[in-house]
């Protein structure tokens, strides 16, 4: 299922850390405007793959291309500038800053203010900050409905709001591809619904491509166009939500293999004789 002009393409990517393979020979593509979900049981290597794409890990083998350009050796900050925006599994907001500053930070790579501008705060710095402020306020804060908390320090916010701020920051990065790492983990139903709606709206209004890691299967199956399933670092299945749901391999990865009753008999049999002896 090769895509003509994939926005992002991972080719035989293998990532190792301290002798363990976190991701092994993973290949997948993501077309512009698509919504792809990356799923798999705990420890399957989803976040590692995310970290590799955003440049925190360097693959030991394989290549990653973005808009046709090989970015395997490009450091993380430059990838951000190229248009890879992401959120983090455990909220990675900067707790010492206000919501507004956190969001502004997302734009960092696109701004030009240098130290001298900054110290003087005249001319370029002043203009750029005002422009940024307007954009953040009018497009992002308004969009995500967090205007009432913009001056609040993030540490004082509820979890759901923090997740939303993190999404706002990712949007401020002006990403072409938005990578969301478990955007609704730990949220209640209402917050999950809000977040899902925002993700859909972002996609609709901004035309952003989305790559998402998520455990909420309802959400994954509902929102995504395409699902990639990882287990033990390898791709075990891929396809539309329906195809993946029907895949016995996926069921095995999630639920375990074999027949419960048979297994129970075996386990009990292993325990029984000694128990009687004891």
């Amino acid at each position: 299922m090769a895509i003509e002009n994939p926005l992002i393409r991972c080719e035989n990517v293998t990532v190792s850390a301290s002798g363990k393979k976190l991701v092994e020979d993973v290949t997948f593509e993501l077309g512009p405007g698509k919504f792809v979900a990356l799923i798999g049981p705990n420890g399957a290597g989803k976040t590692s793959l995310f970290n590799t794409i955003s440049g925190f890990y360097r693959p030991s083998q394989g290549h990653i291309t973005f808009k046709g350009q090989d970015i395997t050796r490009i450091p993380a900050p430059r990838r951000a500038k190229m248009g890879l925006g992401r959120s983090f599994q455990n909220i990675a907001l900067f707790r010492g800053m206000t919501v507004l500053d956190n969001i502004k930070l997302g734009r960092h790579a696109h701004l030009k203010t240098n130290v001298f501008d900054a110290l003087l705060y005249l001319g370029r710095a002043r203009r750029e900050e005002a422009e940024l402020r307007r954009d953040v306020e009018e497009r992002i804060i308004d969009f995500l409905e967090i205007d009432h908390i913009r001056h609040a320090p993030v540490s004082a916010l509820s979890y759901g709001l923090q997740k939303r701020v993190e999404m706002a920051r990712a949007l401020a990065m002006q990403p072409e591809i938005l990578m969301l790492d478990e955007p609704v983990a730990g949220m209640n139903r209402e917050e999950t619904e809000d977040m899902a709606r925002f993700i859909l709206d972002v996609r609709a209004e901004w035309g952003v491509t989305v790559l998402m890691v998520e455990h909420d299967m309802g959400m994954v199956m509902d929102l995504s166009d395409h699902v990639v399933v990882l287990n033990f670092g390898q791709v075990i299945a891929r396809g539309t939500p329906a195809q993946v749901q029907a895949d016995p391999e996926v069921a095995r990865a999630y639920l375990g293999s074999g027949n419960v009753d048979e297994l129970r008999e075996r386990l009990r049999a292993a325990a029984r004789p000694r128990a009687e002896a004891a």
């Binding site: 301290s18 976040t47 925190f56 990675a92």
Partner: protein
């Protein structure tokens, strides 16, 4: 220039022996770091406190040595417990930088207290080490240095043995290895933290007594701690083996720099070794690399 091998040997021997004291003090430092992840910048001042306690018992109260030394070591242990309880424990869970800076404050407090109680004058400890000169071949070895090194190695060995075979030692190493798991197997982790400070303070006191008996004591002898810091950084903050090896290494470097370049190069040489080693191995010779996570 002609190489005077005898001189080189004599200087090296003396400095490696002197490095034994760095190793012992380094061990005291690593003890706390391993268990509690606190970088104790006041290690030199804790040494000083130990030596002043010894001075009080031995010179001011005129207790016999066999009583004064254990008394000073025990009193230092109590001091360690007090420090842990009042300054370190409240910062549990705070970033490690906080505890680090608290120990800077602690250093200042200890120097102030020593000057308040004993004044800032230099003092000499009663001589208790044998004074018979030691010779190895043609080389002289100052008896204090020799006996200091002997005592240091005895203590280092004892500590290593105790922590290998004593259950409390296992608890300490277990806590150092994995704090959450230590809680989960029923180890009283806060008590282990206390224990590590107590043991560290006691070891510091032993080194302080030896250092003080070699060069006299004063409220500025905490400077010794700077070299100890270099030692533990070079060795790797959490490595006992590192502290031992780096102690001897730094002793040697210092001695050679002093001998061939001059006294003003001693500290400089050790710091250059430090910077060099950190550039090559950012976690010291034997330190554990901390794994970064997003």
């Amino acid at each position: 220039m002609d190489m005077d091998w005898g001189y080189l040997f004599e200087v090296s021997l003396t400095s490696v022996m002197g490095g034994g004291l760095y190793a012992l003090a380094g061990l005291a430092f690593v003890m706390v770091y391993k268990a509690t992840r606190v970088v104790n910048l006041a290690i030199g001042e804790m040494l000083m406190a130990g030596s002043y306690l010894f001075f009080t018992f031995a010179a001011m109260w005129a207790l016999p040595l066999w009583l004064a030394i254990p008394a000073a070591v025990l009193a230092s242990g109590v001091l360690g417990a007090v420090i842990e309880r009042t300054m370190i424990r409240p910062l549990l869970g705070e970033p490690p930088i906080s505890a680090f800076m608290v120990t800077i404050g602690l250093g200042s407090v200890l120097v102030g207290l020593v000057e308040m109680i004993w004044s800032a004058d230099q003092r000499r400890l009663p001589d208790f080490l044998p004074t018979q000169a030691i010779t190895v071949g043609d080389a002289f070895l100052a008896p204090k240095i020799f006996w200091g090194a002997v005592i240091a190695s005895v203590f280092i060995t004892a500590v290593l043995l105790v922590f290998r075979y004593w259950r409390g030692g296992v608890a300490l190493r277990a806590t150092a290895s994995d704090q959450a798991a230590a809680y989960a197997v029923g180890i009283n982790v806060p008590r282990v933290f206390s224990l590590s400070w107590v043991v560290s303070a006691m070891l510091a006191a032993v080194s302080g007594i030896i250092v003080g008996s070699i060069g006299g004591i004063s409220s500025s002898m905490g400077v010794f701690g700077l070299t100890v810091l270099v030692v533990v950084i070079v060795g790797g903050l959490d490595s006992v083996l590192g502290a031992l090896v780096a102690g001897l290494l730094v002793g040697l470097v210092e001695g050679l720099a002093g001998a061939y370049l001059g006294g003003e190069y001693k500290l400089l040489a050790t710091f250059i070794v430090l910077v060099f080693i950190l550039m090559v191995r950012p976690y010291g010779l034997f330190g554990t690399r901390e794994i970064e996570r997003l």
